[in-house]
Homo-oligomer: 136 residues x 6
């Protein structure tokens, strides 16, 4: 259960600032579904708007990385940060953007491998090679 | 400074198990350079071999994701886990595999954005929407 | 489900060391309610006493920070560490100490923002400015 | 050393989007000093602007929490996330906003205490008390 | 609910690569029980085999540390990383290998204490003493 | 550089509360060396005393786990939490208590392996098997 109230559609209808963001989410996604993250953030209209605008720009707008790659990175970070909700929502988003099972399992193998070497490097306190710093 | 000894090439030459891995790293990479991570892991020949074989398979072998995407994911996990060495080494690897500055900055924006929403979701303890669980 | 047994009041009554701490918790809080954290810690009477004494001193005693600010900091750390139980219990405690919804949402915005810049800084490996070290 | 280039003032002068943010940072802070975080983010003008606008609103604008409390929370999150740069920069900011040594040490005691109980709770997998969920 | 399918025994029977690992798990453990982790990893036969072979060598094979100590370390890391499943499965494994309640509670006290001093050290950015680096 | 002042011996001599702890550290360890962690904590005499008493009881007193095993667990947690100082100081302590190179490398292999499976489990959101909960 959340530590904040999850806004219903009825409540959102009565608050113009929240309604504007909910409407835009529906428009952009072409779906009536508003997931719980936004219903929780609705308690702070400024944060709701700010987060949605950022997400729209970074995950949905034009950019140097294609939409699926963006989702794979999002899942990887969410897994490393242990955010169960985010892993679920962005795995669903990645599947919608065409992630195959083989890509999903490859992603997981990299997340596991990186976490292993991250831990080994940290536990051994390996100094950064000069070669990695050249030209900076 | 590392909490374990970093093996020199001379030491590696005298230990057949370590030498075999160092030789394979050089062969696969087409370069004489062995970075400190492997020189540290050389203290445990079994772990050295196991880690190198895994890395070769997951990061270098055939797979559902292209080589650059794999490095982007590796950087993302390393950043979320706060591994300075790994961020440096895999950012260098990603650049070698063609990562542009624009791709690098887009990656960073996603890592930042995901970390923000991960924290918000966790602090609000948002329950997973039933829609994300459909079909599982 | 916990990986240790949660002590009932009946069990606590029979162990003087545990009973003494449970009694003090009830006295200090002016409530009969003992939450699960203490019932779990009761499996190690020394740890139970030590943790309660620390919490009483740091969160409840006199100090440079007011009681509500202390709870806000506790929630922030618990969110960053991903401790669901702690987020719930300290959000409840903060509300009891007067946290308004607006303060709660402002806290969450800071937790999100800090997590984003933490990740960006780490991923970019930004060196600490000399100005921040002056005089230390 | 950073994994991205740190922009000099000369470079910033030549890029209107970066210059606009650097100018605003100087104006708001009433100081010529631009710290490395912004010089690193300058590689992505959109991210630079977005992050600065967010920080200005959340840390500097009107809000339910006073400016010093905001910095204490920022330090707490940065410590939990292990961001050395952020700990340094926000400890400096908190001192500028009047944080006393006693407040600093109290903050640290809470960060330590919370991290201890977070770990204990997680290791014992303590279930959330129903009492903490009432009314949600 | 998992983000990947959990393989049933029937499905495993039909895939020789998965069946070979499941058979080996049953043989080594002397039990018919296959826990969900392996049923999830079965979606990637290479990862399944690789992870099982590693686990068998590091946790079950000969080595410098006794089997129970290995499990205690595994629990400690899993708690620090916040992996609920891993805490449950390795606490069960430790109990099977003879962990007493007193050892369990001592382990938890160390995990809590270490997390507290880790946080304090990080928040204070304590420089490493030269004495700890001597001889490296 | 630390964000707090590191107390010199001269300063400690003039503060009875700090001096008492420094004297006890020297007595217990049979050495004149006081490492930086305690010199930093000296800024808060109550926290200094509390932390030292806890450490003495948990790491040095009688207990269900032997002294070396305690240090191995401490290193494991410190690595997972990414505390460079703590990894250095407790690796040094473990060596003093007899940790061999083979034990050290086995510890590191477990820390790496656990971090890998922690990440895999989290990314796949594997549900806890009923069997692990039996009897709780």
């Amino acid at each position: 259960m959340a530590t904040v109230r999850l806004w219903t559609d009825d409540e959102a209808e009565k608050d113009p600032a929240v309604k504007a963001v909910f409407d835009d989410i529906r428009r952009v996604r072409g779906s009536d579904f508003i997931n719980n993250f936004w219903r929780a953030l609705a308690n702070d209209a400024a944060s709701l708007k700010h987060t949605w605008e950022s997400l729209k720009a970074i995950m949905g707008g034009e950019g140097a990385l294609d939409p699926l790659t963006r989702e794979l990175i999002y899942i990887a970070v969410s897994a490393a940060n242990g955010c169960s909700y985010c892993i679920h929502s962005h795995t669903a988003a990645a599947k919608q953007k065409g992630m195959t099972d083989a890509q999903h399992m490859h992603l997981l193998a990299i997340v596991g491998m990186a976490s292993e070497t991250n831990a080994l490097v940290t536990a051994m306190q390996v100094p950064v090679d000069r070669e990695f710093l050249v030209g900076e």
